[in-house]
Subunit: 331 residues, 2 copies
């Protein structure tokens, strides 16, 4: 069973960990079983170069979460982390100091930066990082959306003047509280999908959009030339999970991002962003969104309060996808 997911950071990673948990219990590996093979297309739009090192926040959150190294409470970064290197950089007066990087986490960034500096494409680096985290053994293949460096900048207004800052500065330093005029994704128009990305979408049995940020995570992946067309063209049902519960994101600032691009901060608003390829849509139990026009809407509790809760959500999304796929086969 080939599942392909587009994913941002914390929300996407937790959802996909739930999906693996669900699959382990529902589809145990037997000689004649069809085990779940999950291809994750990770957002690299919020990548940033810090202290001369390339940092891929979403990719790393996916690696650490699926590989069992995540700081559970934070949702990002490594468990049992220390911050001696960052303290030394602060003593040296190095900027920025608003982005927290732990010592183990720095290991990832140093390693990746060295390989990128040697000319290795990001997808090959991610492949090596995936080995370190045992993703292959879990049936997971992690692909960056593109090997082309892409960076999201936010045009903000401060003291009556507009200026562009890196997405991470807006998100982490200013907690998305600086009024944002628009997002500018440098490099996206000339990006090409990383090897395997389009094939994974075209050849999947089910495509899943976890409850990642629809603007700055999923939205950026959709902006890689070719990805949206592949989603429109794939024979696999595309199942999405709303990132909003009661009109607010469970985590992060998806509502602010939606307002910035002029889209209603509702599940219906988000589904509208995916309207040209979305087949199934999970919304929260209380969500008033109606189904219709070829979109099957399913109501489920959407709080990933535990791995089990995430597994149930992911299982519901997967089952909906498999059902729609079976319907198509018999249609």
């Amino acid at each position: 069973m080939r599942i392909t997911a587009l994913a941002g950071g914390v929300g996407g990673a937790r959802f996909l960990r739930g999906l693996l948990h669900h699959a382990r219990h529902t589809y145990p590996v037997t000689p004649d079983s069809d085990p779940l093979q999950l291809t994750v297309i990770g957002n690299t739009g919020d990548d940033i170069t810090l202290f001369g090192l390339r940092v891929c926040p979403d990719i790393d959150t996916l690696l650490y979460t699926l590989g069992g190294g995540i700081h559970e409470g934070q949702g990002w970064g490594r468990a049992d982390e220390s911050h001696h290197l960052a303290a030394e950089l602060a003593a040296l007066g190095a900027e920025p100091q608003w982005f927290t990087l732990g010592d183990k986490d720095f290991g990832t960034h140093v390693y990746r930066s060295q390989l990128l500096g040697q000319g290795m494409p990001l997808s090959a680096v991610v492949d090596r990082l995936s080995s370190r985290w045992g993703l292959g053994d879990l049936g997971v293949r992690l692909l960056p959306m593109t090997d082309t460096p892409v960076e999201t900048h936010v045009v903000v207004e401060q003291d009556g003047e507009q200026r562009a800052i890196h997405f991470q500065e807006w998100w982490v330093r200013h907690r998305a509280e600086l009024p944002a005029e628009r997002f500018v994704v440098a490099g996206l128009d000339r990006a090409t999908p990383a090897p395997g990305v389009l094939e994974a979408i075209r050849e999947a049995d089910v495509v899943i959009l976890p409850p990642s940020n629809p603007v700055v995570s999923i939205g950026i992946i959709l902006g890689v030339p070719g990805v949206r067309d592949a989603l429109r063209g794939t024979r696999a049902p595309v199942i999405g999970v709303s990132p909003l519960v009661g009109g607010r994101p469970v985590r992060g600032h998806a509502d602010v991002c939606l307002r910035t691009i002029g889209v209603e901060e509702t599940s219906a608003g988000v589904a509208g962003l995916y309207a040209d390829f979305l087949d199934g849509w999970l919304v929260d139990e209380e969500d008033p969104m109606p189904g219709g026009r070829g979109l099957e809407v399913l109501r489920r509790p959407l709080l990933m309060s535990s791995v089990d809760a995430a597994a149930e959500m992911a299982g519901a999304a997967l089952d909906l996808g498999l059902r729609l796929r079976a319907d198509r086969a018999t249609a």
Copy 2:
């Protein structure tokens, strides 16, 4: 009082810390005093790029030792150090694993590499690192011998075949036990002295060569075009301290290095390397080396078993230099 010293790593750093200790007690700062201003020309010949980061072992040992951050027992690296980043690199299978880098130490390397990557010359980077370690307040100015990247390689014979390995691999990994045919210092012939290096030698009141390795530390600095001429031409007495006690180095592998370049592993042999500019030479109490031919030889205990012992050695070298300088003035 302007003192200029050429220095390698541990031995040079401990000696110079002793010199500062001596000066603080002998020349206290008063309104009409002439405080010691020490310019240190540090060896960069054993610099190495590890994990894509530029590491300057001798410069860093000088910074940490003079600035009070050194791991006293090791003689190199930071005190109270952890190794989480290196452990992560090992988990990733990154090579080499024979060079120990701690988390705080990595802070120095990340910072330096970022600035070098932005085009800043090494001397300007060292200036910033010196500020972090308060060297200016100690009256110390640390200069790399050159801003040109220089790397010492060792031609070794292994299994009947000759190959060149980085000096650090020979020194740290193989503990100088692999038979060395010769040293090749890549980049040295086209290196130019860092800003201030030649002036510091020419305008010093006394020039001191601490008991650093005469081949791969002092010897490399002397190989930077212009440095040897400046030492020959300076009016300052040049005082050296033998790195050998009883024909053996107190630390490190100076004897092996001397054998490799075909020089007798004695204080006389080392002094011969400096013969064209050396005026005073401190040797161990038991050292049989005679003086003569314009070289004043002074016998002193040369074991830097404590800061006080190093201060006494350094004080003796400084006093000899000041005496020779006074003799010249009255001659």
